[in-house]
């Protein structure tokens, strides 16, 4: 059961990597430029802000999927890592006032370290314990932030946007571009991992951890690397958030909706490849944005719930898996 699936994914990986990294990068740059100027045509920052939210979910879903999808370790504590990024950003804002572009790597490092420590404590355990531990981690961090008045404590903290930003006509556009870069960066990292020894090793772990270990896969080390990278990317996606909302309090930074979406989106898209979380995030994220301004009532959340349940039931391997099944049947 294990070996054919590995060779299959290996073959596919070679096929897609034959495109070449520079080409992929070029495609990304061109499509982002098109997206940016396309949105500019609409003559409204609404498009940029709505797109920011969707792209944030692309980044989060992709980051979560590195551990959750590739290795099969479900991280419930997305909010803990996201909030680490958010509050690192707040701390820098309140002390040294570095620009956002310097803040992001610091936030990523902080969240990555958190991931490493967390993984070291719990990754020896069965997957399900790891999940519960991540849930606990979010609560512990939340309590610490609530009791830490320097970052606003439970009262929350205001973060003022800089008055002007070079090269951009408005701060919204700047935030959008930052998040676009983060999202594309996350996807590229995920794609690279998927096609590397790490990705194949993680896939082997997911299929059968015991067998993989017997075959000499360094399981703990691989899981630690995955947790660190995943955590760092989640943190990086959180760093611009204080500037997006300008007021952060613990319930916002540790919001359940972040965790729910970051987990639901890869599942809807498909967890096996980098494309799944992207599709899931684009679909569900866009749908939520539209629903917010059209249906705009409690029904909105109800529909998200129903769509999720239907999707999961009808296409358990996500949209990617569903399309693949259809193709195979046709053959």
């Amino acid at each position: 059961m294990t070996s054919p699936s590995i060779t299959a994914s290996g073959a596919k990986a070679r096929a897609s990597s034959s495109l070449g990294f520079p080409l992929i990068l070029l495609i990304c740059v061109v499509s982002s430029a098109v997206l940016y100027f396309g949105l500019s045509q609409l003559d409204s920052s609404y498009a940029f802000l709505a797109a920011y939210t969707v792209l944030q979910f692309v980044a989060l879903a992709t980051a979560w999927n590195i551990l959750g999808g590739y290795a099969g370790y479900v991280n419930f504590g997305v909010a803990a890592f996201f909030a680490t990024g958010v509050y690192t950003s707040v701390i820098i804002y309140k002390t040294v006032q570095w620009p956002l572009l310097v803040t992001i790597p610091v936030a990523a490092a902080a969240a990555g370290l958190l991931g490493l420590g967390m993984g070291y404590l719990t990754l020896r355990l069965r997957g399900v314990f790891f999940s519960i531990a991540t849930l606990a981690l979010a609560v512990v961090l939340n309590t610490i932030v609530v009791n830490w008045s320097f970052v606003g404590g439970s009262r929350g903290v205001y973060v003022m946007r800089p008055q002007e930003i070079i090269l951009f006509s408005s701060y919204e556009r700047y935030l959008f571009v930052v998040m676009l870069v983060l999202a594309i960066g996350s996807v590229l990292i995920a794609r690279t991992i998927e096609n590397s020894w790490l990705g194949r090793g993680l896939a082997a772990l997911k299929d059968d951890e015991m067998a993989a270990e017997c075959a000499g896969v360094p399981s703990l080390r691989m899981k630690l690397i995955a947790t660190t990278i995943s955590g760092a990317l989640l943190g990086a996606a959180g760093a611009p958030f204080p500037f997006f909302v300008t007021y952060v309090d613990p319930p916002t930074a540790f919001s359940l909706s972040i965790a729910v979406n970051a987990i639901a989106m890869p599942l809807i898209g498909g967890t096996a490849t980098w494309l799944g979380p992207v599709i899931g995030a684009l679909l569900l994220g866009t749908f939520q944005q539209i629903a917010t301004v059209t249906i705009s009532s409690a029904l909105n959340l109800l529909i998200v719930g129903v769509v999720l349940v239907i999707f999961i039931t009808v296409a358990p391997n996500g949209i990617i898996g569903f399309v693949k099944d259809l193709r195979e049947k046709r053959r």
């Binding site: 920052s45 205001y158 909302v245 301004v293 409690a298």
Partner: protein, 418 residues
């Protein structure tokens, strides 16, 4: 160029119907007032009640012939109590829906999240129950409806300590306890300083996390310090938990209460019933004769008739009158300057005093009320759990400030012995 979306077509059809009904409103497009409002999530209780108040105002103003001869239309989206949705909602309102005026959603978080967008467009911005949201932004077209005054944190305990220090014998010690969230922390900060000023010693000073369930241990720890006064800064579920635990543990003190959010709502009033007797609490409006402002009785009657169907607080004494007053101010300003120009409106609102269902309002520094008007009330003679009794005068007696006073403070507070 004139391609109509389905929405616009519908709107046109709607106004065509309106044309037949009220010819006065025929020629022009409606004035759109946009806002995001929490209709789901933690803030939905306040958000839905505020929305109902806005709707009542909009219907009334349209029945009177509209604003500047144009019909008024509310355009609102659910922010899900999640500030991350707010920036996009307000840019949508301003850029795509092209609303003429914006107001804030309910409470601090959504208001703060909307500020950068609103400031960038230079819109006049009335906000509903946002605590000190403009302290950092310093936006001069911002006006806030909760009567906190420029130094909000002192107001929730000012009346409490004023009355306490004039008691005979003067209380010597106070215990402070509050929820670990925005309001609780703020109320406690103010109480700390007011206690110091009044020369009352603080013997207990702690906060508890949101969603605490066991208040017995907290109240027991407080009781062990034998305070003369107990000041509480709490949110709805914990306000109920604290009051219950105080009676269960049997804590007696000269004064109990202070800054408890939730006691203003029908659900908690009704549930706690007689346990509330002699509890003091801040409030914004109670149906006492000293608060009988023109129009408030009629508004509340209308609100209460529709509350059940809308699934909101059946009494509506706390947020709805202020939400309605907010719209009255907007209406007065638009009529005053005869235009929708934001600068003119802001200048007008800053310069004038407004007569509303919650009394005369004049704005001051940072768009807060020029003079704070937080009331301190005391529950008296509550019998059983009937919600109707809270519509009567004399049950929620105003004991401070002197201007609105409808009765004297009664001490001490005694827990119900069983």
């Amino acid at each position: 160029m004139t391609k109509l979306t389905r929405r616009q077509t519908l709107a046109l059809a709607g106004s065509a119907v309106a044309t037949l009904a009220t010819p006065a409103l025929a020629q022009t497009s409606p004035i759109k007032i946009g806002f995001g409002m929490a209709l789901t999530g933690g803030l939905a209780g306040g958000g839905k009640a505020a929305l109902l108040a806005y709707q009542i105002w909009a219907e009334e103003v349209n029945a009177r012939g509209g604003l500047l001869g144009r019909k008024v239309e509310l355009v609102n989206y659910d922010d899900q109590s999640n500030p991350a949705t707010v920036p996009a909602i307000y840019t949508k309102l301003l850029d795509i829906d092209k609303v003429d005026l914006v107001v804030s959603g309910y409470a601090t978080v959504p208001t703060a999240a909307a500020m950068p967008v609103v400031m960038q467009k230079g819109k006049v911005f009335l906000s509903l129950f946002a605590l000190a949201a403009n302290d950092q932004f310093r936006y001069d077209r911002y006006f806030q409806m909760q009567p906190n005054g420029p130094e909000a944190k002192f107001e929730f305990s000012r009346g409490y300590f004023n009355l306490a220090q004039n008691l005979n014998p003067k209380p010597k010690t106070v215990a402070l306890v509050g929820a670990d969230a925005e309001f609780g922390v703020l109320a406690l900060e103010g109480a700390r300083e007011n206690a110091k000023k009044a020369g009352i010693k603080i013997v207990y000073d702690r906060s508890y996390p949101p969603n605490t369930m066991d208040f017995g241990s907290i109240v027991r720890a407080i009781k062990a310090t034998k305070p003369d006064l107990l000041f509480i800064g709490s949110y709805p579920p914990d306000s109920a938990g604290m009051i219950r635990a105080i009676h269960e543990v049997g804590l007696d003190a000269t004064m109990v209460g202070g800054g408890m959010i939730g006691l203003q709502f029908a659900a908690l009033k009704q549930q706690l019933g007689p346990l509330l007797n002699n509890v003091v609490c801040y409030d914004l409006y109670t149906p006492e004769p000293t608060m009988n402002f023109p129009g408030v009785v009629e508004f509340l009657k209308k609100y209460q008739e529709r509350a059940e169907k809308a699934g909101v607080d059946p009494l509506g004494l706390y947020i709805p009158p202020f939400a309605y007053a907010e719209m009255q101010i907007l209406e007065a300003a638009v009529n005053g300057v005869k235009s929708l120009d934001d600068k003119k409106l802001a200048d007008y609102i800053r310069a004038n005093s407004f007569s509303t269902v919650v009394g005369d309002i004049k704005f001051g520094d940072r768009g807060e009320w020029a003079k704070p008007r937080i009331l301190l009330i005391q529950y008296r003679g509550i019998v059983g759990n009937d919600v109707e009794q809270f519509k009567q005068a004399g049950k929620q007696v105003i004991i401070d400030p002197p201007q609105f006073k409808s009765g004297d403070l009664v001490v001490p507070f005694e827990s119900v012995k069983r």
